[in-house]
Amino acid sequence: MKITIVDGAPGHGFDPFHGKLVQITSALALGGHDVKNFRLSRMHLRPCTGCWGCWARTPGECVIPDETIQIRQAAIVSDRLIFASPLIMGFTSALLKKVQDKMIPLLLPYIELVNHECHHRKRYPAYPELGLLYQAEHDTGEEDLKIVREIYLRYALNFRTEFLFMETLDKESEELAYVVISH
């Protein structure tokens, strides 16, 4: 299975988080899976400016050069795309959201109706299934987790794929590696 992991934890104070993802990556690789782990805090990343260049000028390609192109290239040929982030102010990180914003070139600008709602049409024949590995805040409650889950379900709907799981990083690496491939 091809798996892309996007580590959205900020650079400072999250060494255990990064370390856990490295362990999960290793466990998956040992199991014979083709895994890429992108640590966003070490990458050159420029946010989406809403220019629509990726739809209107260079169809399917972001016109703002940065290293997120590697993530889009890896994600679109993956079976699973795993977002990973601590919850900060009740949602996954700004760093991760900036990358998610820049996935828009993977869709077409044209609109179609899905479940009676407007959504962008697919550019690619298939999209990776999604999962989320998160680290809760000290005050994270059930309502917070429900809000996060629902937004990721919408994200999956937009990309015509499935949101398979949302799992806390508190578990053992081997167990989480199993979660990533088992759903």
Partner: protein, 223 residues
């Protein structure tokens, strides 16, 4: 009174969000002139300490942004994270949000609105509500008669805010129409799609950019 307006559009001053906020401010000014207005654009660097000052001094703060992949743009999330050290420091603050999107239906923005209500609670502020408006993408190119109603509604939202320090529920309801597409509209859209009419706008732009032939390119699929 301090009114702070945070424009979270990555397009900044040239954004559709700026147009909606402009109408809201016109409505606000039509009721009262005695307030201090502070405007921040999140697509530009904000001076150190400025956000802290605004959070502490403001009586009302309006945060507006376009819906990006079903949530706030990354730069807005960054702003929320910058506020994390200020939770509970201004319990008198009234915090309202505007979420606009290109999709015509309000349903797309309902999910992030739940987050925003929770965010206001987390910050220890009083939640004014979230004004949701779809179908905003064309507002800059549409003729005046097509945008008159939406502009008027944001004007009324601003006037009500100045009068009562709250968002008018009836205006919020009007702004969020349609919540979902009705059967007739879906039928018209589906019929138009079969005839290729619904792609007209984007095809025109693609042709203007000499990019139409490449409109279905899949350049990221390299292995």
């Amino acid at each position: 009174m301090w009114l702070s307006v945070i424009n979270g559009s990555p397009r900044g001053k040239k954004s559709n969000t700026a147009i909606l906020l402009g109408e809201l401010l016109k409505g606000f000014c039509s009721v009262t002139g005695s307030f201090q207005l502070e405007e921040i654009y999140l697509n530009r660097p904000v001076k150190d300490g400025r956000l802290d000052q605004l959070f502490h001094e403001s009586d009302i703060m309006i945060i507006a942004f376009p819906l990006y992949t079903d949530a706030m743009p990354g730069i807005v999330k960054e702003f929320f994270e910058d506020l994390s050290g200020l939770c509970g420091t201004n319990p008198a603050l009234k915090l309202g949000f505007i979420v606009q999107s290109g999709f015509p239906e309000a349903i797309h923005s309902r999910f992030i609105a739940r987050y925003l209500e929770r965010l206001a609670s987390r910050l220890g502020a009083q939640y004014l509500g979230t004004a949701i408006r779809g179908g905003v993408e064309g507002i800059q190119v549409q003729p005046a008669w097509m945008t008159r109603r939406i502009r008027k509604l944001f004007w009324k939202l601003g006037a009500g805010l100045a009068l009562n320090s709250e968002f008018d529920d009836a205006v919020l309801l009007s702004l969020a129409q349609p919540e979902r597409l009705g059967a007739f509209v879906r039928f018209i859209y589906t019929t138009g799609a079969r005839l290729g009419l619904t792609d007209f706008y984007w095809n025109r732009i693609l042709r203007e950019n000499n990019a139409w032939q490449r409109r279905f390119d899949r350049s990221y699929m390299i292995s």
